[in-house]
Protein backbone atom coordinates (compact mmCIF):
# COMPACT_ATOMS: atom_id res chain seq x y z
CA UNK A 1 0.00 0.00 0.00
CA UNK A 2 1.44 3.44 -0.79
CA UNK A 3 2.47 5.21 2.40
CA UNK A 4 0.49 8.21 3.55
CA UNK A 5 2.45 11.38 3.10
CA UNK A 6 2.42 12.67 6.68
CA UNK A 7 4.18 15.86 5.66
CA UNK A 8 1.03 17.01 3.91
CA UNK A 9 -1.38 16.02 6.71
CA UNK A 10 -3.12 19.21 7.86
CA UNK A 11 -1.26 20.93 5.04
CA UNK A 12 -2.61 22.10 1.72
CA UNK A 13 -3.58 18.63 0.51
CA UNK A 14 -5.53 17.95 3.69
CA UNK A 15 -7.67 21.05 3.34
CA UNK A 16 -7.95 20.63 -0.41
CA UNK A 17 -9.36 17.11 0.07
CA UNK A 18 -11.69 18.34 2.83
CA UNK A 19 -13.02 21.19 0.68
CA UNK A 20 -13.46 18.95 -2.34
CA UNK A 21 -15.38 16.41 -0.24
CA UNK A 22 -17.65 19.02 1.36
CA UNK A 23 -18.38 20.77 -1.96
CA UNK A 24 -19.10 17.45 -3.72
CA UNK A 25 -21.31 16.24 -0.86
CA UNK A 26 -23.25 19.52 -0.71
CA UNK A 27 -23.76 19.44 -4.49
CA UNK A 28 -25.00 15.84 -4.33
CA UNK A 29 -27.37 16.48 -1.43
CA UNK A 30 -28.69 19.81 -2.71
CA UNK A 31 -29.47 18.24 -6.11
CA UNK A 32 -28.45 21.53 -7.75
CA UNK A 33 -26.24 19.48 -10.05
CA UNK A 34 -26.94 15.86 -11.08
CA UNK A 35 -25.27 13.68 -8.46
CA UNK A 36 -23.28 11.77 -11.09
CA UNK A 37 -21.81 14.98 -12.52
CA UNK A 38 -20.91 16.20 -9.02
CA UNK A 39 -19.28 12.91 -7.96
CA UNK A 40 -17.39 12.44 -11.24
CA UNK A 41 -16.06 16.00 -11.23
CA UNK A 42 -15.05 15.68 -7.56
CA UNK A 43 -13.37 12.36 -8.38
CA UNK A 44 -11.53 13.77 -11.38
CA UNK A 45 -10.27 16.75 -9.34
CA UNK A 46 -9.12 14.38 -6.58
CA UNK A 47 -6.71 12.88 -9.11
CA UNK A 48 -5.91 16.05 -11.05
CA UNK A 49 -4.99 17.95 -7.87
CA UNK A 50 -2.73 15.13 -6.77
CA UNK A 51 -4.72 14.19 -3.65
CA UNK A 52 -4.69 10.65 -5.01
CA UNK A 53 -2.03 9.50 -7.46
CA UNK A 54 -3.26 7.96 -10.72
CA UNK A 55 -1.94 4.61 -9.54
CA UNK A 56 -3.99 4.89 -6.33
CA UNK A 57 -7.11 6.11 -8.12
CA UNK A 58 -7.27 3.33 -10.67
CA UNK A 59 -5.45 0.43 -9.04
CA UNK A 60 -5.43 0.79 -5.25
CA UNK A 61 -8.02 -1.37 -3.51
CA UNK A 62 -7.95 1.00 -0.53
CA UNK A 63 -8.25 4.48 -1.98
CA UNK A 64 -9.35 3.98 -5.57
CA UNK A 65 -12.38 2.75 -7.49
CA UNK A 66 -13.70 -0.50 -6.03
CA UNK A 67 -14.08 -2.54 -9.21
CA UNK A 68 -15.73 -5.37 -7.27
CA UNK A 69 -18.65 -3.10 -6.34
CA UNK A 70 -18.81 -1.67 -9.86
CA UNK A 71 -18.95 -5.10 -11.52
CA UNK A 72 -21.42 -6.46 -8.98
CA UNK A 73 -23.78 -3.56 -9.69
CA UNK A 74 -23.43 -3.79 -13.48
CA UNK A 75 -23.91 -7.56 -13.50
CA UNK A 76 -27.01 -7.46 -11.30
CA UNK A 77 -28.48 -4.71 -13.52
CA UNK A 78 -27.93 -6.89 -16.60
CA UNK A 79 -29.62 -9.87 -14.93
CA UNK A 80 -32.54 -7.72 -13.81
CA UNK A 81 -32.96 -6.07 -17.22
CA UNK A 82 -33.29 -9.42 -18.96
CA UNK A 83 -35.68 -10.78 -16.32
CA UNK A 84 -37.76 -7.59 -16.45
CA UNK A 85 -38.41 -8.08 -20.15
CA UNK A 86 -39.74 -11.63 -19.80
CA UNK A 87 -42.99 -10.59 -18.07
CA UNK A 88 -42.35 -13.09 -15.27
CA UNK A 89 -42.88 -10.44 -12.62
CA UNK A 90 -46.28 -9.46 -14.01
CA UNK A 91 -47.19 -13.15 -14.08
CA UNK A 92 -46.19 -13.54 -10.41
CA UNK A 93 -48.07 -10.38 -9.38
CA UNK A 94 -51.34 -11.43 -11.08
CA UNK A 95 -50.97 -14.92 -9.63
CA UNK A 96 -50.53 -13.42 -6.17
CA UNK A 97 -53.53 -11.09 -6.63
CA UNK A 98 -55.67 -14.14 -7.45
CA UNK A 99 -54.21 -15.95 -4.46
CA UNK A 100 -55.53 -13.04 -2.40
CA UNK A 101 -58.99 -13.91 -3.85
CA UNK A 102 -59.21 -10.39 -5.36
CA UNK A 103 -59.64 -8.83 -1.89
CA UNK A 104 -57.66 -5.56 -1.47
CA UNK A 105 -56.05 -6.16 1.93
CA UNK A 106 -54.67 -9.65 1.20
CA UNK A 107 -53.49 -8.33 -2.18
CA UNK A 108 -51.69 -5.43 -0.49
CA UNK A 109 -50.00 -7.75 2.02
CA UNK A 110 -49.05 -10.30 -0.63
CA UNK A 111 -47.74 -7.62 -3.01
CA UNK A 112 -45.60 -6.25 -0.17
CA UNK A 113 -44.25 -9.74 0.58
CA UNK A 114 -43.52 -10.29 -3.13
CA UNK A 115 -41.83 -6.87 -3.39
CA UNK A 116 -39.72 -7.50 -0.30
CA UNK A 117 -38.62 -10.90 -1.59
CA UNK A 118 -37.79 -9.54 -5.04
CA UNK A 119 -35.95 -6.57 -3.53
CA UNK A 120 -33.80 -8.90 -1.44
CA UNK A 121 -32.68 -10.63 -4.65
CA UNK A 122 -32.78 -7.78 -7.17
CA UNK A 123 -32.41 -4.04 -6.79
CA UNK A 124 -35.18 -2.01 -5.15
CA UNK A 125 -35.81 0.43 -7.97
CA UNK A 126 -36.31 -2.30 -10.56
CA UNK A 127 -38.61 -4.15 -8.22
CA UNK A 128 -40.91 -1.18 -7.70
CA UNK A 129 -40.77 -0.36 -11.42
CA UNK A 130 -42.09 -3.88 -12.06
CA UNK A 131 -44.70 -4.03 -9.32
CA UNK A 132 -46.12 -0.49 -9.58
CA UNK A 133 -47.84 -0.84 -13.00
CA UNK A 134 -49.54 -4.10 -11.91
CA UNK A 135 -50.59 -2.43 -8.68
CA UNK A 136 -52.14 0.49 -10.58
CA UNK A 137 -54.00 -1.96 -12.81
CA UNK A 138 -55.35 -4.01 -9.91
CA UNK A 139 -56.36 -0.88 -7.99
CA UNK A 140 -58.10 0.40 -11.13
CA UNK A 141 -59.95 -2.85 -11.61
CA UNK A 142 -60.97 -2.94 -7.93
CA UNK A 143 -61.74 0.81 -8.00
CA UNK A 144 -59.66 1.52 -4.87
CA UNK A 145 -57.06 4.24 -4.15
CA UNK A 146 -53.67 2.88 -5.31
CA UNK A 147 -51.61 5.23 -3.13
CA UNK A 148 -51.61 3.13 0.09
CA UNK A 149 -50.57 0.11 -1.99
CA UNK A 150 -47.74 1.99 -3.69
CA UNK A 151 -46.46 3.51 -0.44
CA UNK A 152 -46.51 0.14 1.28
CA UNK A 153 -44.63 -1.44 -1.64
CA UNK A 154 -41.90 1.23 -1.66
CA UNK A 155 -41.37 0.55 2.04
CA UNK A 156 -41.50 -3.22 1.62
CA UNK A 157 -38.86 -2.86 -1.07
CA UNK A 158 -36.54 -0.93 1.26
CA UNK A 159 -37.14 -3.42 4.06
CA UNK A 160 -36.59 -6.46 1.79
CA UNK A 161 -33.45 -4.95 0.29
CA UNK A 162 -31.93 -4.75 3.79
CA UNK A 163 -31.92 -8.54 4.10
CA UNK A 164 -29.10 -9.48 1.74
CA UNK A 165 -25.68 -8.40 0.51
CA UNK A 166 -27.07 -7.63 -2.95
CA UNK A 167 -30.41 -6.16 -1.82
CA UNK A 168 -29.39 -2.56 -1.31
CA UNK A 169 -26.27 -0.58 -2.35
CA UNK A 170 -25.32 0.29 1.29
CA UNK A 171 -25.03 -3.43 2.00
CA UNK A 172 -22.83 -3.94 -1.09
CA UNK A 173 -20.56 -1.12 0.13
CA UNK A 174 -20.43 -2.42 3.72
CA UNK A 175 -19.72 -5.97 2.52
CA UNK A 176 -16.88 -4.73 0.31
CA UNK A 177 -15.11 -2.86 3.11
CA UNK A 178 -15.86 -5.25 5.98
CA UNK A 179 -15.29 -8.30 3.74
CA UNK A 180 -18.60 -9.86 4.72
CA UNK A 181 -19.95 -12.76 2.68
CA UNK A 182 -23.44 -13.23 1.30
CA UNK A 183 -24.02 -15.79 4.04
CA UNK A 184 -22.95 -13.32 6.75
CA UNK A 185 -25.84 -11.09 5.67
CA UNK A 186 -28.23 -14.06 5.62
CA UNK A 187 -27.12 -14.99 9.11
CA UNK A 188 -27.12 -11.54 10.70
CA UNK A 189 -29.58 -9.35 8.80
CA UNK A 190 -32.16 -11.67 7.23
CA UNK A 191 -33.61 -12.78 10.61
CA UNK A 192 -34.01 -9.12 11.64
CA UNK A 193 -35.68 -8.30 8.32
CA UNK A 194 -38.07 -11.25 8.64
CA UNK A 195 -39.25 -9.98 12.03
CA UNK A 196 -39.49 -6.42 10.71
CA UNK A 197 -41.46 -7.57 7.66
CA UNK A 198 -43.98 -9.50 9.77
CA UNK A 199 -44.45 -6.46 12.04
CA UNK A 200 -44.83 -4.21 8.99
CA UNK A 201 -47.51 -6.47 7.49
CA UNK A 202 -49.37 -6.59 10.81
CA UNK A 203 -49.22 -2.79 11.00
CA UNK A 204 -50.65 -2.56 7.47
CA UNK A 205 -53.45 -4.94 8.43
CA UNK A 206 -54.31 -2.92 11.53
CA UNK A 207 -54.18 0.36 9.67
CA UNK A 208 -55.94 -0.57 6.43
CA UNK A 209 -57.96 -3.65 7.47
CA UNK A 210 -61.34 -1.96 7.71
CA UNK A 211 -60.84 0.67 5.03
CA UNK A 212 -60.34 -1.53 2.03
CA UNK A 213 -63.61 -3.08 0.90
CA UNK A 214 -64.78 -3.81 -2.64
CA UNK A 215 -67.90 -5.32 -4.13
CA UNK A 216 -68.12 -8.80 -5.51
CA UNK A 217 -68.13 -8.09 -9.25
CA UNK A 218 -64.91 -6.06 -9.03
CA UNK A 219 -63.29 -8.93 -7.14
CA UNK A 220 -64.37 -11.24 -9.93
CA UNK A 221 -62.53 -9.08 -12.49
CA UNK A 222 -59.25 -9.86 -10.74
CA UNK A 223 -60.10 -13.52 -10.41
CA UNK A 224 -60.86 -13.69 -14.14
CA UNK A 225 -57.38 -12.44 -15.14
CA UNK A 226 -55.22 -14.91 -17.02
CA UNK A 227 -51.71 -14.47 -15.64
CA UNK A 228 -50.22 -16.71 -18.37
CA UNK A 229 -50.80 -13.91 -20.87
CA UNK A 230 -48.31 -11.73 -18.97
CA UNK A 231 -45.35 -13.88 -20.05
CA UNK A 232 -43.76 -12.24 -23.09
CA UNK A 233 -41.01 -14.76 -23.76
CA UNK A 234 -41.46 -18.16 -22.12
CA UNK A 235 -38.09 -19.55 -23.19
CA UNK A 236 -36.21 -16.48 -21.95
CA UNK A 237 -38.21 -16.54 -18.70
CA UNK A 238 -37.09 -20.12 -18.02
CA UNK A 239 -33.49 -19.34 -18.97
CA UNK A 240 -33.26 -16.17 -16.89
CA UNK A 241 -34.89 -17.71 -13.80
CA UNK A 242 -32.50 -20.65 -14.05
CA UNK A 243 -29.48 -18.35 -14.32
CA UNK A 244 -30.78 -16.22 -11.43
CA UNK A 245 -31.21 -19.35 -9.30
CA UNK A 246 -27.67 -20.50 -10.18
CA UNK A 247 -26.31 -17.04 -9.37
CA UNK A 248 -28.06 -17.03 -5.99
CA UNK A 249 -26.61 -20.47 -5.21
CA UNK A 250 -23.23 -19.06 -6.27
CA UNK A 251 -23.71 -16.14 -3.85
CA UNK A 252 -24.42 -18.43 -0.92
CA UNK A 253 -21.25 -20.41 -1.73
CA UNK A 254 -18.95 -17.57 -2.84
CA UNK A 255 -16.63 -17.70 0.14
CA UNK A 256 -16.27 -21.51 -0.11
CA UNK A 257 -15.60 -21.14 -3.82
CA UNK A 258 -13.20 -18.30 -3.03
CA UNK A 259 -15.02 -16.09 -5.53
CA UNK A 260 -16.01 -12.49 -4.94
CA UNK A 261 -19.78 -11.74 -5.19
CA UNK A 262 -18.85 -9.65 -8.24
CA UNK A 263 -17.34 -12.70 -9.96
CA UNK A 264 -20.46 -14.75 -9.27
CA UNK A 265 -22.76 -11.99 -10.57
CA UNK A 266 -20.58 -11.33 -13.62
CA UNK A 267 -20.58 -15.03 -14.51
CA UNK A 268 -24.37 -15.14 -14.20
CA UNK A 269 -24.86 -12.00 -16.27
CA UNK A 270 -22.44 -13.11 -18.99
CA UNK A 271 -24.04 -16.57 -19.13
CA UNK A 272 -27.52 -15.08 -19.50
CA UNK A 273 -26.34 -12.73 -22.27
CA UNK A 274 -24.74 -15.68 -24.01
CA UNK A 275 -27.80 -17.94 -23.97
CA UNK A 276 -30.44 -15.27 -24.62
CA UNK A 277 -31.33 -14.37 -28.17
CA UNK A 278 -30.77 -10.90 -29.54
CA UNK A 279 -28.00 -8.38 -29.45
CA UNK A 280 -26.54 -7.30 -26.08
CA UNK A 281 -26.84 -3.61 -27.03
CA UNK A 282 -30.33 -3.09 -25.63
CA UNK A 283 -29.67 -4.89 -22.33
CA UNK A 284 -26.35 -3.10 -21.82
CA UNK A 285 -27.86 0.25 -22.77
CA UNK A 286 -30.41 -0.20 -19.97
CA UNK A 287 -27.70 -0.54 -17.32
CA UNK A 288 -28.01 2.51 -15.07
CA UNK A 289 -24.70 4.00 -16.13
CA UNK A 290 -25.26 7.26 -14.21
CA UNK A 291 -25.40 5.21 -10.98
CA UNK A 292 -22.26 3.29 -11.91
CA UNK A 293 -20.30 6.46 -12.66
CA UNK A 294 -21.70 8.03 -9.49
CA UNK A 295 -20.11 5.19 -7.51
CA UNK A 296 -16.79 5.60 -9.34
CA UNK A 297 -16.58 9.34 -8.62
CA UNK A 298 -17.62 8.80 -5.03
CA UNK A 299 -14.93 6.17 -4.41
CA UNK A 300 -12.28 8.66 -5.53
CA UNK A 301 -13.53 11.59 -3.45
CA UNK A 302 -13.82 9.40 -0.33
CA UNK A 303 -10.44 7.80 -1.13
CA UNK A 304 -8.98 11.30 -1.02
CA UNK A 305 -10.25 12.13 2.47
CA UNK A 306 -9.21 8.71 3.76
CA UNK A 307 -5.68 9.11 2.39
CA UNK A 308 -5.00 12.55 3.85
CA UNK A 309 -6.20 11.51 7.31
CA UNK A 310 -9.49 13.39 7.61
CA UNK A 311 -11.37 10.19 8.35
CA UNK A 312 -8.87 9.33 11.09
CA UNK A 313 -9.47 12.71 12.74
CA UNK A 314 -13.27 12.41 12.61
CA UNK A 315 -13.01 8.85 13.88
CA UNK A 316 -11.12 10.16 16.93
CA UNK A 317 -14.06 12.48 17.63
CA UNK A 318 -16.58 9.63 17.26
CA UNK A 319 -14.53 7.53 19.66
CA UNK A 320 -14.50 10.37 22.16
CA UNK A 321 -18.25 10.86 21.85
CA UNK A 322 -19.39 7.23 21.99
CA UNK A 323 -16.57 5.64 24.00
CA UNK A 324 -16.12 2.27 22.26
CA UNK A 325 -13.75 -0.15 23.99
CA UNK A 326 -12.28 -3.50 23.05
CA UNK A 327 -14.99 -5.08 25.26
CA UNK A 328 -18.08 -3.19 24.15
CA UNK A 329 -19.10 -0.82 21.39
CA UNK A 330 -22.73 -0.72 22.46
CA UNK A 331 -23.15 3.07 22.49
CA UNK A 332 -21.35 3.34 19.17
CA UNK A 333 -23.58 0.66 17.62
CA UNK A 334 -26.85 2.22 18.73
CA UNK A 335 -25.70 5.76 17.94
CA UNK A 336 -24.80 4.55 14.47
CA UNK A 337 -28.18 2.81 14.06
CA UNK A 338 -30.21 5.93 14.83
CA UNK A 339 -27.81 8.48 13.36
CA UNK A 340 -27.60 6.51 10.09
CA UNK A 341 -31.39 6.26 9.93
CA UNK A 342 -31.91 9.96 10.59
CA UNK A 343 -29.37 10.94 7.96
CA UNK A 344 -30.51 8.36 5.38
CA UNK A 345 -34.03 9.74 5.72
CA UNK A 346 -32.93 13.01 4.17
CA UNK A 347 -29.78 12.29 2.15
CA UNK A 348 -28.80 9.58 -0.30
CA UNK A 349 -27.60 6.63 1.79
CA UNK A 350 -24.94 5.64 -0.77
CA UNK A 351 -22.56 8.60 -0.22
CA UNK A 352 -23.36 8.44 3.49
CA UNK A 353 -22.32 4.79 3.78
CA UNK A 354 -19.32 5.27 1.52
CA UNK A 355 -18.15 8.06 3.86
CA UNK A 356 -18.87 6.23 7.11
CA UNK A 357 -17.26 2.92 6.07
CA UNK A 358 -13.67 4.15 6.46
CA UNK A 359 -14.71 5.84 9.70
CA UNK A 360 -15.80 2.51 11.20
CA UNK A 361 -12.57 0.89 9.94
CA UNK A 362 -10.48 3.63 11.53
CA UNK A 363 -12.37 3.37 14.78
CA UNK A 364 -11.81 -0.42 14.80
CA UNK A 365 -8.10 0.17 14.22
CA UNK A 366 -7.86 2.71 17.03
CA UNK A 367 -9.80 0.66 19.56
CA UNK A 368 -8.62 -2.84 18.70
CA UNK A 369 -5.06 -2.17 17.51
CA UNK A 370 -4.25 1.06 19.32
CA UNK A 371 -4.13 2.75 15.94
CA UNK A 372 -1.03 0.78 14.99
CA UNK A 373 -2.43 -1.30 12.11
CA UNK A 374 -3.32 -0.14 8.61
CA UNK A 375 -7.06 0.70 8.79
CA UNK A 376 -7.45 -0.11 5.11
CA UNK A 377 -6.00 -3.54 5.50
CA UNK A 378 -7.27 -4.81 8.84
CA UNK A 379 -7.12 -8.57 9.43
CA UNK A 380 -10.38 -10.46 9.02
CA UNK A 381 -10.48 -11.36 12.72
CA UNK A 382 -10.56 -7.63 13.51
CA UNK A 383 -13.16 -6.79 10.86
CA UNK A 384 -15.40 -9.59 12.11
CA UNK A 385 -14.54 -9.32 15.81
CA UNK A 386 -17.61 -10.09 17.95
CA UNK A 387 -17.35 -6.64 19.51
CA UNK A 388 -17.47 -4.96 16.08
CA UNK A 389 -20.23 -7.09 14.52
CA UNK A 390 -23.17 -5.19 16.10
CA UNK A 391 -21.62 -1.93 14.88
CA UNK A 392 -21.61 -3.13 11.26
CA UNK A 393 -25.13 -4.56 11.41
CA UNK A 394 -26.55 -1.50 13.18
CA UNK A 395 -24.90 0.63 10.51
CA UNK A 396 -26.50 -1.44 7.72
CA UNK A 397 -29.95 -1.54 9.36
CA UNK A 398 -29.98 2.19 10.05
CA UNK A 399 -28.75 3.18 6.59
CA UNK A 400 -31.19 0.95 4.70
CA UNK A 401 -34.30 1.42 6.86
CA UNK A 402 -33.90 5.16 7.45
CA UNK A 403 -34.75 5.72 3.79
CA UNK A 404 -38.37 4.81 4.48
CA UNK A 405 -39.12 8.04 6.34
CA UNK A 406 -39.40 10.52 3.48
CA UNK A 407 -40.27 10.64 -0.21
CA UNK A 408 -36.60 11.40 -1.00
CA UNK A 409 -35.04 8.96 1.50
CA UNK A 410 -34.59 6.12 -0.99
CA UNK A 411 -34.49 5.74 -4.75
CA UNK A 412 -37.48 3.36 -4.61
CA UNK A 413 -39.55 6.09 -2.91
CA UNK A 414 -38.64 8.66 -5.55
CA UNK A 415 -39.58 6.22 -8.31
CA UNK A 416 -42.92 5.28 -6.73
CA UNK A 417 -43.89 8.91 -6.18
CA UNK A 418 -42.97 9.63 -9.82
CA UNK A 419 -44.93 6.69 -11.22
CA UNK A 420 -47.98 7.52 -9.11
CA UNK A 421 -47.83 11.11 -10.36
CA UNK A 422 -47.67 9.92 -13.97
CA UNK A 423 -50.79 7.86 -13.33
CA UNK A 424 -52.62 10.90 -11.93
CA UNK A 425 -52.26 9.97 -8.24
CA UNK A 426 -50.18 12.68 -6.60
CA UNK A 427 -48.35 11.61 -3.45
CA UNK A 428 -47.44 14.74 -1.50
CA UNK A 429 -44.34 14.98 0.69
CA UNK A 430 -46.64 15.22 3.72
CA UNK A 431 -48.66 12.14 2.84
CA UNK A 432 -45.44 10.16 2.44
CA UNK A 433 -44.18 11.40 5.82
CA UNK A 434 -47.39 10.34 7.58
CA UNK A 435 -46.83 6.81 6.41
CA UNK A 436 -43.03 6.81 6.25
CA UNK A 437 -42.04 8.14 9.67
CA UNK A 438 -44.13 5.63 11.68
CA UNK A 439 -42.79 2.84 9.44
CA UNK A 440 -39.20 3.97 9.97
CA UNK A 441 -39.72 4.22 13.74
CA UNK A 442 -41.35 0.77 13.89
CA UNK A 443 -38.53 -0.85 11.92
CA UNK A 444 -35.81 0.99 13.85
CA UNK A 445 -37.23 0.04 17.25
CA UNK A 446 -37.35 -3.60 16.14
CA UNK A 447 -33.77 -3.31 14.83
CA UNK A 448 -32.66 -1.80 18.13
CA UNK A 449 -34.26 -4.63 20.12
CA UNK A 450 -32.84 -7.21 17.69
CA UNK A 451 -29.28 -5.90 18.06
CA UNK A 452 -29.70 -5.66 21.84
CA UNK A 453 -31.01 -9.21 22.22
CA UNK A 454 -28.70 -10.82 19.71
CA UNK A 455 -25.38 -9.17 20.51
CA UNK A 456 -25.59 -7.87 24.09
Amino acid sequence: MPAIDHATVHGTTYWLAATLFVVTFVLIVSEKVHKTKAALFGGALTIALGILSQEEAFHSPHFGIDHGVVFLLISMMVLVNVIGHTGIFGWAAIKVAKLGRGRPLPIMLLFCALTALASALLDNVTTVLLVAPVTLLIADELDVDPIPFLLAEAMASNIGGTATLIGDPPNILIAARARFTFDDFLFHLTPAVLVIMVAFLIALRVFFGKRLRVDEHKRQRVLAMDERRMIKDRSLAVKSLSVLALTLVGFTMHSTLQLEPATVALTGAALLLLISRGEPNRVLAEVEWPTIFFFMGLFLVIGGIVKVGIVRDISAMVIQATGPTADSMKTTAFSLLWFSAALSAVVDNIPYVATMNPLVLDMANSVLHGGQADPNNLPLETLHAPVLQPVWWSFALGSCLGGNATAIGASANVVVVGLAGRAGHKITFGRFLKFGVPTMLLTLVISHVYVLLRYY
Binding site: G87, G90, I94, A132, L136, E141, E227, R229, L419
Partner: protein
Protein backbone atom coordinates in the same frame (compact mmCIF):
# COMPACT_ATOMS: atom_id res chain seq x y z
CA UNK B 1 -42.05 25.65 -54.01
CA UNK B 2 -43.53 27.29 -50.91
CA UNK B 3 -45.90 25.82 -48.35
CA UNK B 4 -48.56 28.42 -49.24
CA UNK B 5 -48.84 26.56 -52.60
CA UNK B 6 -49.48 23.28 -50.78
CA UNK B 7 -52.19 24.46 -48.34
CA UNK B 8 -55.11 22.08 -47.79
CA UNK B 9 -58.28 23.49 -49.37
CA UNK B 10 -60.41 23.01 -46.27
CA UNK B 11 -58.14 22.44 -43.23
CA UNK B 12 -59.45 20.28 -40.40
CA UNK B 13 -60.03 22.78 -37.59
CA UNK B 14 -61.66 22.39 -34.17
CA UNK B 15 -62.32 24.74 -31.30
CA UNK B 16 -60.54 24.06 -27.98
CA UNK B 17 -63.94 23.86 -26.32
CA UNK B 18 -65.33 21.22 -28.73
CA UNK B 19 -65.89 17.80 -27.21
CA UNK B 20 -63.64 14.87 -28.07
CA UNK B 21 -66.73 13.10 -29.42
CA UNK B 22 -67.22 16.00 -31.90
CA UNK B 23 -63.55 15.68 -32.88
CA UNK B 24 -63.95 11.92 -33.41
CA UNK B 25 -67.01 12.57 -35.61
CA UNK B 26 -64.87 15.03 -37.65
CA UNK B 27 -62.08 12.45 -38.01
CA UNK B 28 -64.55 9.79 -39.16
CA UNK B 29 -66.26 12.14 -41.64
CA UNK B 30 -63.11 13.31 -43.51
CA UNK B 31 -59.74 11.99 -44.57
CA UNK B 32 -57.58 13.83 -41.99
CA UNK B 33 -56.76 12.42 -38.56
CA UNK B 34 -55.05 15.53 -37.17
CA UNK B 35 -56.89 18.78 -36.52
CA UNK B 36 -55.53 22.26 -35.86
CA UNK B 37 -57.05 23.69 -32.68
CA UNK B 38 -57.95 27.30 -33.34
CA UNK B 39 -59.39 29.92 -30.99
CA UNK B 40 -60.61 32.91 -33.09
CA UNK B 41 -57.77 33.17 -35.61
CA UNK B 42 -55.09 31.97 -33.17
CA UNK B 43 -53.61 28.49 -33.28
CA UNK B 44 -53.60 27.05 -29.74
CA UNK B 45 -52.63 23.44 -30.47
CA UNK B 46 -53.07 20.35 -32.58
CA UNK B 47 -55.02 17.22 -31.73
CA UNK B 48 -54.97 13.85 -33.43
CA UNK B 49 -56.71 10.49 -33.32
CA UNK B 50 -53.72 9.25 -31.29
CA UNK B 51 -54.33 11.99 -28.70
CA UNK B 52 -57.90 10.75 -28.34
CA UNK B 53 -56.70 7.16 -27.92
CA UNK B 54 -54.12 8.32 -25.36
CA UNK B 55 -57.00 9.51 -23.19
CA UNK B 56 -58.31 5.95 -23.14
CA UNK B 57 -55.03 4.34 -22.15
CA UNK B 58 -54.32 4.33 -18.41
CA UNK B 59 -50.76 5.35 -17.43
CA UNK B 60 -49.90 1.84 -16.29
CA UNK B 61 -50.34 0.51 -19.83
CA UNK B 62 -47.71 3.00 -20.97
CA UNK B 63 -45.45 1.52 -18.26
CA UNK B 64 -46.16 -2.09 -19.25
CA UNK B 65 -48.33 -2.57 -22.34
CA UNK B 66 -48.55 -6.29 -21.65
CA UNK B 67 -51.05 -5.48 -18.88
CA UNK B 68 -53.64 -4.80 -21.60
CA UNK B 69 -53.95 -8.60 -21.91
CA UNK B 70 -55.50 -8.95 -18.46
CA UNK B 71 -57.89 -5.98 -18.38
CA UNK B 72 -61.57 -6.99 -18.27
CA UNK B 73 -63.34 -7.26 -21.64
CA UNK B 74 -65.52 -4.14 -21.42
CA UNK B 75 -62.70 -1.88 -20.17
CA UNK B 76 -62.32 -0.03 -23.49
CA UNK B 77 -66.04 0.75 -23.84
CA UNK B 78 -66.22 1.99 -20.23
CA UNK B 79 -63.23 4.28 -20.72
CA UNK B 80 -64.65 5.62 -23.98
CA UNK B 81 -67.88 6.49 -22.19
CA UNK B 82 -65.89 8.64 -19.74
CA UNK B 83 -64.75 10.84 -22.66
CA UNK B 84 -68.30 12.00 -23.44
CA UNK B 85 -67.88 15.50 -21.98
CA UNK B 86 -64.10 15.87 -22.23
CA UNK B 87 -63.07 18.89 -24.28
CA UNK B 88 -60.38 19.11 -26.92
CA UNK B 89 -58.11 21.37 -24.87
CA UNK B 90 -57.60 18.50 -22.36
CA UNK B 91 -56.19 16.24 -25.05
CA UNK B 92 -54.45 18.60 -27.48
CA UNK B 93 -50.71 19.11 -27.84
CA UNK B 94 -49.89 22.75 -27.07
CA UNK B 95 -46.25 22.86 -28.14
CA UNK B 96 -46.73 22.83 -31.90
CA UNK B 97 -44.26 23.06 -34.77
CA UNK B 98 -45.55 25.59 -37.31
CA UNK B 99 -44.24 27.18 -40.51
CA UNK B 100 -44.83 30.61 -42.10
CA UNK B 101 -46.55 30.64 -45.56
CA UNK B 102 -43.30 31.55 -47.30
CA UNK B 103 -41.37 28.58 -45.91
CA UNK B 104 -40.03 26.09 -48.41
CA UNK B 105 -42.04 22.89 -48.92
CA UNK B 106 -38.84 21.04 -48.10
CA UNK B 107 -39.09 22.31 -44.52
CA UNK B 108 -42.56 20.79 -44.22
CA UNK B 109 -41.31 17.54 -45.76
CA UNK B 110 -38.47 17.45 -43.21
CA UNK B 111 -41.04 17.82 -40.39
CA UNK B 112 -43.12 14.96 -41.77
CA UNK B 113 -40.12 12.69 -42.11
CA UNK B 114 -37.92 13.62 -39.15
CA UNK B 115 -40.58 14.44 -36.56
CA UNK B 116 -43.39 12.16 -37.70
CA UNK B 117 -45.94 14.98 -38.09
CA UNK B 118 -48.98 14.31 -40.28
CA UNK B 119 -50.05 17.96 -40.47
CA UNK B 120 -48.07 21.19 -40.16
CA UNK B 121 -50.16 24.28 -39.32
CA UNK B 122 -49.20 27.42 -41.24
CA UNK B 123 -49.14 30.58 -39.15
CA UNK B 124 -48.59 34.09 -40.49
CA UNK B 125 -47.72 36.72 -37.90
CA UNK B 126 -49.51 34.76 -35.17
CA UNK B 127 -52.60 34.21 -37.32
CA UNK B 128 -53.66 30.70 -38.38
CA UNK B 129 -53.89 30.61 -42.19
CA UNK B 130 -54.18 26.91 -42.94
CA UNK B 131 -52.27 23.66 -42.89
CA UNK B 132 -50.20 21.42 -45.10
CA UNK B 133 -50.49 17.65 -44.95
CA UNK B 134 -48.40 14.85 -46.46
CA UNK B 135 -51.20 14.40 -48.98
CA UNK B 136 -51.33 18.10 -49.99
CA UNK B 137 -47.55 18.22 -50.42
CA UNK B 138 -47.52 15.04 -52.52
CA UNK B 139 -50.36 16.46 -54.61
CA UNK B 140 -48.36 19.66 -55.28
CA UNK B 141 -45.17 17.75 -56.12
CA UNK B 142 -46.98 15.23 -58.37
CA UNK B 143 -48.64 18.09 -60.25
CA UNK B 144 -45.28 19.63 -61.10
CA UNK B 145 -43.42 16.51 -62.22
CA UNK B 146 -44.12 14.95 -65.63
CA UNK B 147 -44.55 11.21 -66.06
Amino acid sequence: MLVRDALVHSPFVVSPNATLFALVDGILAGNQTTASVVDGDRLVGVVSATDVLKQLVPAYLAMDENLAHVLHASFFEEELGKLRNVQVHHAMVRDVDTLPPDASVMQAVAMFVRRGHKTVPIVDDGRFVGAVTRRSVLKLVRGSVDD
